[in-house]
């Protein structure tokens, strides 16, 4: 198997799903973002977004915090250090794959 295909075969399947890739990419850029922001940016339904966030949280890539800003409830999401490293590795693998094409 060529180097390029080998790197694609080993890619993180959790991040490789398109909706989750965008969620992780957004959270990689910021400290934290709330549910409403992620929903608008990804155009996912509430249920769909919740499911993806739960999968990422179960894998330890994401931390979900239910808090308040004044009187307004907020569901804040932030990438853990594990999640950041996983995304960096994912980017490196994808870049390696694209470079070998």
């Amino acid at each position: 198997m060529s180097e390029a295909l080998r790197s694609l075969a080993n890619v993180d399947r959790l991040i490789h799903e398109p909706a989750r890739t965008i969620i992780v990419a957004i959270l990689y850029t910021v400290e934290s973002a709330d549910f409403l922001y992620l929903q608008r940016e990804t155009s996912l339904t509430k249920g769909n977004l919740s499911a993806h966030l739960s999968k990422l949280a179960e894998a330890g890539y994401l931390q979900i915090e239910k808090t308040y800003r004044g009187k307004i409830p907020l569901t804040l999401c932030r990438l853990t250090e594990t999640g950041r490293q996983a995304f960096e590795e994912y980017r490196r693998q994808m870049k390696q794959f694209v470079d070998h094409l």
């Binding site: 709330d34 922001y37 929903q39 804040l76």
Partner: protein
């Protein structure tokens, strides 16, 4: 998909500026500074009022900056976060931290060089104050433009440099020139900020209104 990722990440970087509130708040600070320099220009340099005003400049900058930050937060909580959500940003680290340090150092070096020149050639140097201020202002706007890829900040950078340089070339230097410069900057920032806020509110209705449709 790579383009979607880039767009999503670029949106996240731009989000702090999406509503124009920062520009409106900065416009308010520029109005304050313009008024400050205008009052100073009308006073005699030997008067007690002039000296008091001179000594309070740093307090006005710090106090104004804190007030601007607070006002932006209050209005974002009322207008922006309920409509399009909340985002907080990481402190600069790694290469970004070095870029910011070099940029800040560059501005400090420019101001230091100017002040050194000013102390040895007072009257000539004061004539250049609007131009130097315009250059510094322009560099800050250019930095924001480069980070956010938002066209309006490139325009604000150009406006700052042109206004500052134009005032100096027109012979309107010194403190009065600064008053006119800050008034001009306030107008530019108000126009871009108000236009951006208007567009943002038009495109993003509060969730309660959308739910009733």
């Amino acid at each position: 998909m790579k383009d979607n990722l880039k767009v999503a990440q670029q949106h996240a970087v731009q989000y702090w500026l999406v509503d124009g509130l920062n520009e409106l708040a900065l416009a308010g600070l520029c109005v304050l500074l313009g008024a400050y320099f205008y009052v100073q220009a009308t006073l005699s340099p030997d008067s007690a009022a002039y000296k008091i005003l001179d000594m309070s400049f740093v307090l006005i900058i710090i106090g104004g900056g804190l007030l601007v930050n607070r006002l932006v937060q209050v209005f974002k909580e009322q207008l922006t976060y309920p409509r399009t959500g909340f985002v907080s940003y990481r402190r600069a680290y790694g290469l970004n931290r070095w870029v910011r340090a070099v940029f800040t150092g560059g501005i400090a070096a420019l101001m230091g060089a100017f002040l050194t020149y000013a102390f040895s050639n007072a009257s000539a140097a004061f004539a250049w104050m609007p131009a130097v201020t315009g250059l510094v202002f322009g560099m800050v706007m250019l930095f924001i433009a480069a980070r956010s890829a938002l066209l309006r900040f490139y325009l604000l950078a150009a406006a700052a440099v042109l206004l500052g340089g134009g005032l100096t070339l027109a012979g309107i230097g010194n403190v009065l020139g600064l008053a006119v410069f800050y008034a001009g900057q306030a107008l530019c920032l108000f126009v871009t900020g108000a236009w951006t806020l208007r567009s943002y509110l038009h495109d993003n209705r509060p969730p309660a209104e959308e739910a009733h449709e």
